[in-house]
Symmetry: C2
């Protein structure tokens, strides 16, 4: 019987418990802990854990796998609390959305007899807390895996076993890579979404904007309703990456702004490219097999044809623009070959 | 019997037909037209119209209310096409997402015997076309109404009657106001969402980003999958407003970036304010009665208490920060009163 300890029973910790229990593995026993007694009770009621412990160290004692699923800012304190209770050879992981700082804390505080493997499930939703936990939360999602240099193979296998059981796909990377990637694909989004909301809210015409705002405004500002503590933790622990990506985003917006001064054809091709490329992304293009993309390439007619989502009108326009561009290039070639 | 003509039977035109027919009014007869014959057939099958006409002028002939629901770029051509067929006193409206240009076209092309009232329903979804049309699409949404200077009261009443029947709420404004407001609350979002997608897609690490991107990235980039023709029309017909709002957004992002260099308290209060203000927005704060907001104010403890969505931990932290700020202000007052 392997004891799995989950420390922190919020949306992620609770969902991990539900998913592990749902797998129906007789050889696993799930012990949970949360600082909030009512959350511990709810976890037992929901059958997200087999039992609960009275503190974090108690939960970790004798566990073969320890999952720290508390908010990023409290991870360091939990490491200090459980360090003395961890058994020899235990696999320890976390679910925090930044990894560089967490790996430093693990190296500093956890005993050398355990293996730390940083983790980050790329799943979640706006509504937090155990009441929103679901066994299927991680199904078909990516799960970042960041082994520490001293992690043993057997411990890495434990983590991979858990990820398989969740129905997720592991993605190995370094802590630096992780914080760079999620800085763009997740943390920047919190800044972008919050800024869209605060910009209009702080304007003198907010009452008018609020009356006219449609579903798109609600969708795109939804991350402004995330947990402020979580957002602050992320901003503080991954500060330089978030700032880097805000700067990159500003450059991209400026490029877009300048594009609007250009030709209607160029604007149309920008939107068409984005539409087609996002369709491929949603269809689950095989990025492991991707030979290298040329993002600036004008899509070929075949490409446009292949993308059934575009409809005949858009296809027709892409074909026309492509033809015009080809003619222009042919003209230029002819002119240059006519030069003495 | 009043004849209602709907020209253009896409998502919006089709949904208007379904909503008007769903109201079960015996005194209204809905005639539709679309350039695509298969769409006309589908509209009849779905019962979105009572009958279809063979061209736009034919649909408009004898109609008391004419709704032009074609893409923005084709509105001018439709006005020219129907001008000769419009009956004396007809109310003519459109659903285009920009209004300044549309009002110019109406003044230029429509006969003086009809009343033009620009319209823009603040409803929609990513999936376009009549197959996605719904009778309830406009329920509880805002509907911008922009009467031309020569529009008769009776015609305005026709439009308001239609909006009531859709279950929407009319919002009167000028064409300039409209284009300014939707420039921010709608058109900027297309740019922001598309730029988030293209920035990462064009980066050398796209394969890695794509693997790690979670649900938030999909949500926030969804407008990059909108109809490229529609997006181009909007960008071209409301160019200066879109550029103005991109510039404003860049300034807001830069403010956010600089805030990350500041104290953790300040970052936390930024996210907390955004969270609380968005909760009020979603709860449907009464903006008609709003006395004027002070967006920079620190929320009072009562405010935080009132916002049940925040949870006790966030409330406690807001209270602590508020207390620290009050103490700091009291210290400063004391110091300044001690000065000779």
């Amino acid at each position: 019987m392997t004891r799995v300890a989950i420390i922190g029973l919020g949306l992620i910790g609770g969902s991990l418990g539900l998913a592990i229990k749902a797998a129906g593995r007789d050889d696993l026993e799930v012990v949970g802990f949360d600082v909030d007694g009512s959350v511990r009770k709810r976890a037992r009621q929901m059958n997200a854990v087999d039992e609960t412990a009275s503190d974090a160290a108690d939960a970790a004692r004798g566990a073969g796998l320890v999952i720290v699923a508390t908010p990023p800012a409290t991870v360091r304190a939990v490491f200090a609390e459980i360090a003395g209770a961890l058994g020899e050879g235990a696999a320890v992981t976390d679910v925090a959305s930044t990894k560089v700082r967490v790996m430093e804390w693990a190296a500093e505080l956890l005993p050398r007899s355990v293996s730390f493997i940083g983790g980050h499930p790329m799943a979640g939703k706006t509504d937090q807390g155990i009441d929103n936990a679901e066994a299927t939360l991680f199904q078909d999602s990516s799960y970042a895996v960041v082994p520490s240099p001293t992690a043993r193979d057997s411990a890495i296998k434990s983590i991979l076993g858990m990820i398989e059981l969740l129905g997720a796909k592991e993605r190995f990377m370094t802590a630096d890579e992780h914080d760079h990637y999620v800085g763009a694909s997740s943390h920047l989004l919190i800044a972008a979404s919050t800024a869209l909301f605060t910009m209009l809210h702080a304007s003198g015409s907010w009452a008018d904007f609020a009356k006219i705002a449609g579903p798109a405004y609600k969708d795109l500002t939804r991350l402004a309703s995330g947990d402020p503590e979580m957002a602050t933790d992320i901003a503080v622990t991954n500060r330089s990456q978030v700032q880097y990506w805000i700067d990159r985003y500003i450059l991209e917006l400026r490029r877009f702004r300048d594009l609007l001064d250009g030709s209607e054809d160029a604007i149309f091709m920008e939107f068409t490219n984005a539409n087609m490329n996002r369709a491929k992304f949603l269809e689950g293009e095989d990025y492991d097999a991707l030979p290298g993309t040329d993002p600036l390439a004008i899509p070929s007619s075949a490409d446009a044809m292949a993308s059934m989502m575009m409809g005949p009108r858009v296809y027709e326009r892409v074909r026309e623009i492509t033809k015009r561009l080809e003619e222009r290039m042919a003209d230029q070639l002819r002119e240059s070959s006519n030069q003495p």
